[in-house]
C-alpha cells in the first residue's frame, strides 16, 4: 500500500447532509464521539426539518449535522464548512451556498440520477456540468460500494443500502484519523437484538475505512492534534441532556424529589424523555394533557414539597402564563424551562431563536416578577438548572430557565463536575408556629418573611399544627388571609418585586473579558450567542482592535454590577436572535444607548458576520 500524505490542520468544519431517512444525525453523533475521544475541542450543530420524513430527495427533507473540531479551544460549530458530505442532489443543493470556494465536497454519486437532480431543479448533472469547478469534488458511489461490501450478509438490499451512512462514516474516520473502536462497540449495542444487521453495519463502516486507505481517489488524510484541554474526565453533552442531568443534580442538592410536569413540544421533549429514564433517582415524570396541566401539576407537587419543574417551548409558555402568575402569588418554588424556538405561533419549531425573553419577563397579568436565568452553552445548562432550582427553592419563586434550540441540540465536550462538591441546597421548611396572636395563641402565618431573602415561611402539608390555605387572591402581609385592603396590596406588590430584586445580592457579578484593557466597545449578550460573540471578539482582537465581551447568565434580576459595566464603555453592542429584547431592557433600566444587532433567521450567528459588525461599530466610534 502506498503511504499517503498526512496533512496537519488546526481545525476542520465538516457538514454531513442527506435525506431525513439517511441517518445523518446518527452519523454526526458517532463522528463527534470519535472526535471527542480523540481529544479535540469541538462544537456541533444539528439542523433538521420540522417534518419527520419529508418526501425523499426533496430540499425540505434535507437533514444535516455540522461538526467543528480543533486542536485549540473553539466556541462555535463554525460558520462555513470546509468539507461537505452530500448523500444526494438535494443535500448538495441545500448546502452549497454555505460553502466557501475551494471547499471539499464528497458526494454519493449513486444518487445523482437524472430523476434525482431534476427533482431539485438542476437542469443538468452538477457533477458533470462544471458548475462545481470552484470546489474539490470527489464522487464516490457510496450506495453501490456498501451493497457490494455487504453482499455476503443475510440482509435485504434495503438494509444493505441503509448502511451507506456507516460506509461514509468509515471513510471520514480514516480521513481524519479518528479512533474507531467506540463506533464498533456502539453498533454492536445498538443492533444487539439483530446481530446480522450489527455485523453488516460494522462491515460497512470498516469497508469505508479501508476504501479510504486503499483508493487512489483520496491522496491525503488529515490530522488535527488533540486540544490542550484542562485535565479531567470529559464527555460530550448536548444542552437538553445537560439540563436533564442538572435537574437531577438539583433534586439531590435540595433533597427534594424531582417532579416534571410536561407536554411534548419541540425542542424541549428530549428533556422529558431523558428524565423519564431515571425513575431510580425518584424522578416522577408526568406527561400532562396540555401545558397548563404540566405546570399546574408541578405547582401541586411543589406545594407538597417536591422540586416542581415544567419544560416547554414558547407556545407552551404562553399557555402556562396564568399558572406562573399563580405560583408568583403562592410564592412556591417552580422551575420553568423554556427551550426557545422560532416564533410567533408555531413559527419555526426546529429552529433556534431567543425571542421569549420579554415573554418570560413580562408575560403575565399584574405585577408578577419572576427570576430568569439563561445558560450560555450546552454544558452550561447543567449549572444553570441547579441555579434555577437554588433560586426557586431559596426564594420560593418561579424561575425561568431560557435555553434554545441551538443549545438544546448542539453539543460540546464537558469536563465532568465533582458531584461531591455540589452545593448544599437543602430547604428549611417551617415546622413550628411563627406568630403569636393577640390572645397569646401560637399560629402559623404562611406569609411571614425571612428578613434577608424576603422568602415566605414554607410549611408542607402533613406538618401538624401548621394547617393553612394559600391561593391566588391577594393576601394580607404576614398572615396570608385574603385581603382587599389597598395599602396592603401596594405593599405586597412591592414586596414580591423586592424579593426578586434582592436575588441580585446572591448571584455572581457580570464578568467582562477585555484582555487589552482599553476597549471602547462592549459586546453584551445572553444565552446561546455566547459562542459566536466570543469567537467574533477573538477575531476582532486578532485584527488589532480591542473589544470587551460580557455575557449575562442572569436576566432577572441582572447582576448587581450590570449598570456599572454597561456605563463603563463608550458604546454597548447587543447582538440577539430577536428584535432587540435585551437591548430594550438595558436601555430602559440603565439609560444606556445600546446598539442592537439582531437577526432572526432561525440559525445561530456566524462568527465572521459578528466580527464584521463589531469591527464596523468600533470604527464608527473612532470616526
Amino acid at each position: 500500500m502506498p503511504t499517503k500524505e498526512v496533512r496537519q490542520l488546526d481545525r476542520v468544519i465538516i457538514r454531513l447532509a442527506g435525506d431525513s431517512g439517511d441517518g445523518m444525525q446518527l452519523t454526526g453523533d458517532r463522528f463527534t464521539s470519535e472526535t471527542a475521544e480523540f481529544g479535540n475541542d469541538l462544537s456541533t450543530l444539528p439542523n433538521f426539518p420540522a417534518e419527520i420524513r419529508a418526501p425523499a430527495g426533496t430540499l425540505p427533507g434535507v437533514s444535516s449535522f455540522q461538526l467543528h473540531f480543533a486542536d485549540h479551544d473553539i466556541m462555535t460549530p463554525g460558520d462555513a464548512p470546509n468539507v461537505l458530505v452530500a448523500m444526494n442532489p438535494a443535500a448538495l443543493k441545500a448546502n452549497l451556498a454555505d460553502l466557501p470556494r475551494g471547499a471539499e465536497i464528497i458526494v454519493n454519486s449513486d444518487e445523482f440520477t437524472p430523476r434525482a437532480w431534476q427533482r431539485v431543479g438542476y437542469s443538468s448533472n452538477p457533477l458533470e456540468d462544471g458548475s462545481l469547478a470552484d470546489y474539490r469534488v470527489t464522487a464516490v458511489p457510496l450506495t453501490s460500494m456498501t451493497v457490494e461490501a455487504l453482499k455476503d450478509f443475510d440482509i435485504s438490499k434495503k438494509d444493505a443500502e441503509r448502511a451507506k451512512n456507516m460506509f461514509a462514516l468509515g471513510l471520514l474516520s480514516w480521513m481524519y484519523h479518528r479512533p474507531i473502536e467506540s463506533t464498533i462497540a456502539f453498533l454492536e449495542k445498538k443492533f444487539a437484538k439483530n446481530p446480522e444487521i450489527a455485523k453488516a453495519n460494522i462491515a460497512a463502516f470498516r469497508a469505508g475505512y479501508h476504501f479510504g486507505e486503499t483508493t487512489e481517489v483520496f491522496a491525503v488524510s488529515y490530522e488535527v492534534k488533540p486540544a490542550a484541554l484542562q485535565p479531567g474526565t470529559y464527555r460530550n453533552i448536548s444542552g437538553n441532556l445537560a439540563l436533564a442531568y442538572g435537574l437531577i443534580a438539583a433534586s439531590q442538592a435540595t433533597g427534594l424529589p424531582l417532579f416534571l410536569g410536561s407536554y411534548p413540544i419541540t425542542p424541549a421533549s428530549d428533556i422529558l424523555h431523558e428524565l423519564a429514564k431515571h425513575k431510580n433517582f425518584g424522578v416522577r415524570t408526568f406527561q400532562a394533557e396540555d401545558e397548563i396541566a404540566g405546570v399546574t401539576a408541578a405547582i401541586g407537587a411543589s406545594f407538597g414539597g417536591s422540586l416542581g419543574v415544567t419544560t416547554t417551548s414558547g407556545p407552551g409558555v404562553a399557555l402556562k402564563s396564568e399558572a406562573i402568575g399563580l405560583a408568583v402569588m403562592l410564592e412556591l418554588p417552580l422551575v420553568i424551562c423554556d427551550i426557545q424556538r422560532g416564533g410567533p405561533s408555531t413559527g419555526l419549531p426546529t429552529k433556534t431563536e431567543q425571542a421569549d425573553l420579554l415573554q418570560a419577563m413580562f408575560g403575565r397579568n399584574g405585577e408578577a416578577p419572576v427570576a430568569i436565568v439563561a445558560p450560555r452553552s450546552p454544558s452550561d445548562c447543567f449549572a444553570m438548572a441547579i441555579e434555577a432550582a437554588r433560586i426557586a427553592t431559596k426564594y420560593r419563586t418561579p424561575v425561568f430557565l431560557l435555553s434554545d434550540g441551538y443549545l438544546a441540540n448542539g453539543s460540546e465536550p464537558w469536563l465532568l463536575p465533582d458531584v461531591s462538591a455540589l452545593p448544599d441546597l437543602r430547604v428549611d421548611f417551617a415546622t413550628e408556629p411563627n406568630h403569636v396572636a393577640d390572645d397569646g395563641s401560637r399560629q402559623f402565618w404562611p406569609y411571614v418573611r425571612d428578613p434577608e431573602t424576603l422568602a415566605r415561611a414554607w410549611a408542607l402539608p402533613g406538618t401538624p399544627g401548621l394547617e393553612h390555605r394559600i391561593g391566588g387572591l391577594e393576601k394580607s402581609d404576614g398572615s396570608g388571609a385574603i385581603s382587599y385592603d389597598p395599602e396592603n396590596h401596594d405593599r405586597m406588590v412591592r414586596l414580591r418585586q423586592a424579593k426578586i430584586d434582592g436575588i441580585a445580592r446572591d448571584i455572581p457579578p457580570l464578568e467582562v473579558e477585555d484582555p487589552d484593557g482599553n476597549a471602547e466597545l462592549l459586546v453584551l449578550g445572553w444565552g446561546s450567542t455566547y459562542g459566536p460573540i466570543g469567537a467574533a471578539c477573538r477575531r476582532v482582537r486578532a485584527r488589532g482592535l480591542p473589544v470587551a465581551q460580557a455575557h449575562l447568565r442572569y436576566l432577572n434580576p441582572f447582576p448587581a454590577n450590570t449598570g456599572e459595566v454597561v456605563r463603563r464603555y463608550r458604546k454597548v453592542l447587543i447582538p440577539e436572535m430577536n428584535l432587540g429584547q435585551l437591548a430594550l431592557l438595558i436601555r430602559a433600566k440603565y439609560l444606556v444607548d445600546a446598539i442592537s444587532y439582531d437577526r432572526v433567521r432561525g440559525l445561530p450567528f456566524k462568527a465572521a458576520e459578528l466580527a464584521d459588525v463589531i469591527t464596523a461599530t468600533i470604527e464608527s466610534i473612532q470616526e
Partner: protein, 371 residues
C-alpha cells in the same frame, strides 16, 4: 386493596352495601385512605372550621355542603394536616378557606391538575378537589376528564348550580337549553353536559350524584367516595339562591321529589315513586324505560359491574325537567391507581438499575480523560 364488591355476594340494603365488599371503616382502613396515616386524637366538626368568615350569600347551598363535609371529616380518622382541599375559581371554590386543613384556592379550572401533582407525589395525603360546573366543565373540562381516566386517588366534589355564580349569573355548561341569563337574553343555544354521563365516558371508576339539602345522602356518598381508591367524582346539586334559585326544587320538595328522584342503591331493584310503584327495565334497544315497580324485569342496580353500560343508561334517564333523576352511586369499580403504578415503576427502576448514582449518571456514555 379489596376486590370488586360484586363478587362476594354480600349485599346489604342501602348505600352501606357499596362499602360492604370493599375495605370499610372499623375493620381496617378504607382503600382510598390506605396510604394516609391514621390520627390518634378524635376530632369533631368544629375542629374543621377555620377562623375565616364564610362569605357566601345567605341561603346559598354551599353552606349545607360545607357543614356536611365538616361533619363528615372527623369520621375519617385522618389527622387534619394530612387532608388537603384544592379548588379552582368560583363561589364554590372558596370552600378550602373555610376548612381547617391544608388547602389551595388556585386558578379557574385547574384544580384537578394541581391535585394530580400533589397526589402523585404525596400518597400520604387525602386530597379533595372542590369545583363548580363552570370551573370543572368549561375552562377545566380537559383536566377533569384526564384526572378521571388516570384514576388519580382524589375525591372530586363538583358543586353544580347550573349557573356561573361568582361572575353574577351567566349560563353554564350544565344550564338547560334555552336558559335566559344576562349573557343569553334570548335563551342559551348550547346543549348542556350531563356531568355523570361525561364522567362515565371519561373512564371514571367512581361516579355519584347527591343533593346539597339531603345531608344524610350527601354524607353517605362522601363516605363511599373517600373509601374508593382512585378518582371519585361526586356531582352535588347545589342551589344558587341568587342567580338560579330553586333549580333543583322538584328534587327537594316533599310533594314532587318521590316522583322525580330515583335513589340508586347497590344490589337493590331500581324503583321509585311514593310507594315504589315505578321501576326501570331494559328495552330491546338497550335503553332503560319506566315500568311498574313490581315488574319482574325491574333492573337490580349493580354499581360494581365492570362494564359501565348500566351506569351510563341510568345517567341518561334524567329528563330536562329533572324527571327521573337518579342520585346515589352510579359506578364504583376498582382499577389500578396512577400513583400506585408510578410508585411501582420507581421501585422496579431501583430494583433494576440500583438507587440513582449521580456521578455514574454524569459519566454514562463515552468519556475520555485528559491528563
Amino acid at each position: 386493596m379489596t376486590n370488586d364488591g360484586s363478587s362476594n355476594g354480600q349485599h346489604r340494603a342501602g348505600l352501606a352495601a357499596s362499602l360492604a365488599g370493599r375495605a370499610a371503616y372499623g375493620n381496617g382502613r378504607p382503600a382510598g385512605l390506605m396510604s394516609v396515616p391514621q390520627g390518634s386524637t378524635a376530632l369533631a366538626a368544629k375542629d374543621f372550621k377555620s377562623d375565616q368568615e364564610v362569605r357566601w350569600c345567605p341561603g346559598c347551598g354551599d353552606y349545607a355542603i360545607l357543614a356536611a363535609v365538616q361533619g363528615f371529616l372527623p369520621e375519617l380518622g385522618v389527622p387534619r394536616e394530612n387532608i388537603v382541599f384544592i379548588s379552582g375559581i368560583g363561589c364554590s371554590s372558596r370552600f378550602p378557606y373555610y376548612v381547617e386543613t391544608y388547602g389551595m384556592h388556585s386558578i379557574h379550572g385547574r384544580a384537578p391538575a394541581i391535585a394530580t401533582g400533589l397526589a402523585v407525589t404525596r400518597p400520604d395525603l387525602a386530597v379533595f378537589v372542590v369545583t363548580g360546573d363552570g370551573d370543572a366543565l368549561s375552562i377545566g373540562g380537559n383536566h377533569l376528564i384526564h384526572a378521571l381516566r388516570r384514576n388519580i386517588n382524589l375525591t372530586i366534589l363538583l358543586f353544580n348550580n347550573r349557573i356561573y355564580g361568582l361572575t353574577k349569573g351567566q349560563y353554564s355548561p350544565t344550564s338547560e337549553l334555552g336558559k335566559i341569563t344576562k349573557s343569553t337574553p334570548m335563551g342559551s343555544l348550547d346543549q348542556p353536559f350531563n356531568p355523570v354521563s361525561l364522567a362515565l365516558g371519561a373512564e371514571a371508576t367512581f361516579v355519584a350524584r347527591t343533593i346539597d339539602s339531603d345531608r344524610k345522602h350527601l354524607t353517605e356518598v362522601l363516605r363511599a367516595a373517600v373509601a374508593h381508591r382512585g378518582a371519585s367524582f361526586v356531582e352535588i346539586y347545589q342551589n344558587c339562591n341568587i342567580f338560579n334559585d330553586n333549580a333543583f326544587e322538584v328534587l327537594k320538595s316533599p310533594t314532587t321529589r318521590d316522583d322525580y328522584l330515583i335513589r340508586l342503591e347497590h344490589g337493590q331493584p331500581i324503583t321509585f315513586g311514593k310507594n315504589r310503584e315505578k321501576g326501570v327495565r331494559w328495552t330491546a334497544s338497550g335503553t332503560l324505560e319506566v315500568c311498574s315497580g313490581d315488574d319482574p324485569s325491574v333492573v337490580v342496580h349493580d354499581a360494581h359491574h365492570p362494564d359501565p353500560t348500566l351506569a351510563f343508561a341510568l345517567s341518561r334517564l334524567a329528563q330536562p325537567d329533572l324527571a327521573m333523576t337518579p342520585i346515589g352511586i352510579f359506578r364504583d369499580v376498582d382499577r389500578p391507581v396512577y400513583e400506585d403504578m408510578l410508585a411501582d415503576q420507581i421501585e422496579q427502576a431501583v430494583a433494576r438499575q440500583g438507587r440513582g448514582d449521580l456521578a455514574a449518571l454524569l459519566a454514562s456514555g463515552d468519556t475520555w480523560t485528559i491528563r
